[in-house]
């Protein structure tokens, strides 16, 4: 059972690591308004803290995505719901983008690959429903969605757009782009 202090440290670590991926235990403890010794007492080591944080990120994202998918009747709706929901949870995983140590952690990378694989399945299902351009490689579509999630998550964190606005815009942007043209079809726009 995670204590209040534990939660405060985890939250602080998330915040600090987003800004400074190489943050020391000192800085994390300071952000959490907690002594450095407490961090080492509750988490075995810095790596342990990072690992806990990484597992949390994966759990939260999985859960949010699963809940979102459960509400949808079609794969396309599920895709939209998942994208919107995951964007809402970006604060929980955003630090992973720059967390060097975790990019070498087997468990984390495997979980991330699994999530991308599940996303690919969802994309494939939506494609079968006829809502995804058939000429685009699935890997490309997945990269686009993943990239859009990271980018708009960062934009929200920076304050460039609000989270609610981003959640309203992201699906439309991914699906129909930013073009003002209404019937562009499959050309590359040239």
């Amino acid at each position: 059972m995670p204590s209040i202090t534990e939660e405060r440290i985890l939250d602080a670590a998330r915040r600090v690591l987003c800004v400074n991926a190489g943050a020391t235990v000192d800085e994390i403890a300071a952000e959490a308004q907690v002594g450095r010794a407490t961090v080492f007492r509750l988490f075995k080591s810095r790596a342990g803290l990072l690992r806990t944080l990484g597992r949390r990120a994966i759990l939260v994202t999985d859960q949010v995505a699963a809940e979102a998918a459960a509400t949808a009747a079609t794969a396309t709706e599920a895709l939209k719901a998942v994208i919107t929901a995951v964007l809402g949870a970006s604060e929980h995983y955003r630090f992973l983008g720059t967390a060097v140590e975790l990019s070498e952690d087997e468990e984390i990378t495997r979980a991330y690959d699994r999530q991308l694989s599940e996303l690919a399945d969802l994309v494939a299902a939506a494609r079968r429903e006829g809502s995804i351009r058939p000429d685009l490689p699935t890997a490309w579509v997945v990269a686009v969605i993943d990239g859009q999630l990271w980018a708009t998550g960062a934009a929200v964190a920076k304050g460039a757009v609000g989270l609610l606005q981003a959640q309203e815009l992201i699906w439309g942007t991914i699906m129909t782009g930013i073009s003002a043209g209404k019937a562009i079809g499959y050309t590359n726009g040239e």
Copy 2:
């Protein structure tokens, strides 16, 4: 005038830092097949090497973007050309995404902000030409383009798609999305 050795070190640093943002001078020197002392001789310090690398990235990106823009007759064409060209140069700046130390470097962050600002100007000009959805905030459009560049650059580096294919797909994806629908208009797809 940068020596051959200098170039080898810079190239090696780019490669290593993409994989491991916290790479030590030892690792960089090893990748460059060069003694560690040589790195310190040619660049004053690790920070100096990083700064040189960062400046290089900005210079190359600026130059590539300027050349691309020069070939275009309209802002929309310029936007397309710039996006395609910058994607092609992603290997030169990709390490910046995880380079912790440089995210605190005034010169680098200012330059990056300037580039985003220039991109915003280009987007605004394209919008005046009627090619960008008028209801989308410019900040959002810029975030989308920036995110797409980072994401597809990463996908190319990972080998998920080829560079040429990515360069063919990115403009179409940004402009008209991944939807199979031909006349979706401005709704959010619900």
